[in-house]
């Protein structure tokens, strides 16, 4: 196991309150794109964080259900590249609302139809979050790669036509202020009657990591309710262990256990620069 980076032992802690959200890093860092700001530096090369074995994912779902989990998120990499995504979604949707975070470039009509069938058969909501970084093709493709804007828009139309009401998830990297209104206008222009947009800050991690930046101290958190942090209610299962934060999954300093969820229900170190961003912005990686 890689060494724990300096600063973790002395970092302030977020308490564990309850398991509200379970994230599965389904494809690890395997992705067909190589976005310039990717939170975990995913790409098409040999992934530095391996895909999750289907049996491990199912065990985590079972464990999480017993712990009273509220919702489940599938992420990566690009989760639709996982060969077991549909049966895993079926398992997950049998127990809780489930969200898939996709780059929207590998969707097919057949896959959208299968997703609609799963959503229709479940008591719980299936949410598909499609990543875009700008409401204009050129600005988006500078970040996400040539042709990705067109492909993502086609996916949005396909999902909407199936009644799946996709959520566009964007960062502020390319579009800056006013991005929310521009995305809503874009979606309306596509004929999407119920536009759904979620904007996230850019976190200094993965390919967006810069020079070492500000880290949280206990003094910074004085008077702040740490139970409101996402990591107080979130656990993330990746191929190499369990984490408290989806964007820190795979980083040795963030690992809470090597396998079982039950062993990862203690406090989490707020040691990373991204923890300071989360604290400062109040961002939520959940849908709402």
């Amino acid at each position: 196991m890689p060494a724990i980076p300096p600063g973790v032992a002395d970092a302030p802690r977020a308490p564990f309150v309850t398991l509200s959200a379970l994230w599965l890093v389904l494809t690890g860092t395997l992705c067909n794109l190589r976005c310039t700001h990717c939170l975990n530096a995913s790409g098409p090369d040999e992934p530095w964080l391996a895909p999750l074995d289907g049996a491990v994912a199912r065990r985590a779902l079972t464990e999480a259900e017993a712990l009273g989990v509220r919702e489940v998120y599938f992420t990566g990499g690009e989760p639709f590249l996982h060969r077991e995504i549909l049966p895993l979604l079926e398992t997950s949707l049998a127990m809780a609302a489930t969200t898939v975070l996709t780059n929207g470039t590998v969707m097919t009509d057949a896959l959208a139809g299968a997703l609609a069938a799963l959503a229709g058969a479940s008591r719980y909501s299936l949410e598909i979050r499609v990543s875009l970084d700008a409401a204009e093709a050129e600005a988006n493709d500078r970040v996400r790669g040539r042709g990705t804007w067109e492909r993502a828009l086609r996916t949005l139309r396909t999902l909407d036509a199936r009644g799946l009401l996709p959520i566009v998830t964007a960062t502020e990297i390319a579009d800056g202020a006013g991005a929310y209104d521009r995305f809503r206008a874009l979606l309306r222009g596509l004929g999407i009657a119920k536009p759904r947009v979620k904007i996230l800050p850019v976190f200094p991690v993965g390919r967006a990591a810069g020079a070492p930046g500000v880290r949280l101290t206990d003094a910074d958190l004085e008077g702040f309710d740490r139970t409101t942090l996402q990591c107080a209610e979130t656990r993330v299962v990746a191929a190499d262990g369990v984490y408290a934060c989806p964007i820190l999954a795979g980083l040795p300093g963030a690992r809470l256990s090597d396998g079982a969820l039950a062993a990862a229900l203690g406090p989490a170190a707020l040691y990373h620069e991204a923890c300071a961003t989360c604290h400062r912005t109040g961002a939520t990686c959940r849908n709402a």
């Binding site: 009273g68 989990v69 127990m95 809780a96 959503a119 008591r123 909501s125 759904r196 939520t284 709402a288």
Partner: protein, 274 residues
């Protein structure tokens, strides 16, 4: 008497039939009609699960109605914020459009809620307990663990409900906060969860009527959702007269939500017009 999270004993009222409503949202016209309806239906007690303010035109007209009908109120996130003079309503929105309308509503509500009523809001309990025959009932605003947690029908798993009920020594969980009603029986009817919906805003179903819940104890718990027609046109005109957003009046007239949409999960969002 029973205890909840600590050694302080709390009062548990016992009833045969109760009416439970939520989300008044300053809609005094709707509240008056609902309370009159509960009288006709032989409810022994009326409970309100909070959020007295927000959205509507006459915050201060809600309080005399609650007192006149001896309504037992649980504190909502809105009540907590108004009582404390907080910067915002802590409604939990992440979307800038929702937050725009939420800010307008909140500022209006605070400005139109008297100091006396704000002080009363500060006295409201975070939860209440009751017994309906053999059923132990736990009443709260959002969820038993967080005042502003949204328990939507499509995002609230059975496993979570079982855990919340076990953690709070209850067989029946009653909540509101989402504005949409739903109910679920668990484990062959041994346990129940009921989101009573809201009386201050319609159901996002294309009709202006509002809803509350009637619960009757017995070996089997009976849950009935009751719809109430009221003078929604008067409430809409009052919003317009106060210069509040026309989207609010449109919601009251059409029954379709025009704001606070982004937190709706896909399943619930699909049912509405917008």
């Amino acid at each position: 008497m029973s205890s909840h999270r600590g050694d302080v004993p709390e009062r548990v009222s016992e009833h045969r039939r109760i009416a439970v409503l939520g989300g008044v949202y300053s809609n005094a016209e709707a509240l008056a009609a609902v309370l009159a309806d509960t009288r006709r239906r032989d409810a022994e007690a009326v409970f309100c699960l909070g959020d007295l303010g927000g959205f509507g035109a006459h915050p201060d007209r809600v309080f005399p109605l609650l007192r006149e009908h001896d309504v037992r109120v649980v504190r909502g996130n809105y009540d907590e914020a108004v009582a404390a003079g907080a910067a915002d309503c802590n409604c939990g929105y992440t979307d800038p459009r929702d937050n725009h309308y939420a800010r307008l509503s909140y500022a209006y509500t605070v400005a139109h809620t008297s100091a006396t009523n704000r002080a009363w809001l500060a006295t409201l309990p975070g939860h209440r307990r009751a017994r309906l025959g053999p059923h132990r009932v736990f009443m709260c605003h959002g969820s038993p663990r967080r005042i502003n947690e949204f328990l939507w029908e499509s995002t609230t798993p059975d496993g979570l409900l079982r855990r919340l009920l076990a953690d709070h020594a209850a067989d029946v969980l009653l909540c509101t906060h989402t504005g949409l009603k739903w109910r679920r029986a668990l484990d062959g009817g041994a346990a129940h969860a009921v989101n009573v919906g809201a009386v201050g805003r319609p159901e996002n179903d294309g009709t202006p009527d509002v809803w509350y819940a009637l619960l009757t104890g017995g070996p089997e718990l009976e849950v009935e959702f009751v719809s109430v027609a009221y003078d929604h046109e008067a409430a809409a005109r009052a919003l317009e007269a106060e210069g509040l957003p026309r989207e609010f009046a449109e919601t009251l007239r059409t029954g379709w939500w025009t704001t606070c949409l982004e937190n709706l999960p896909a399943r619930e969002r699909a049912r509405g017009r917008f």
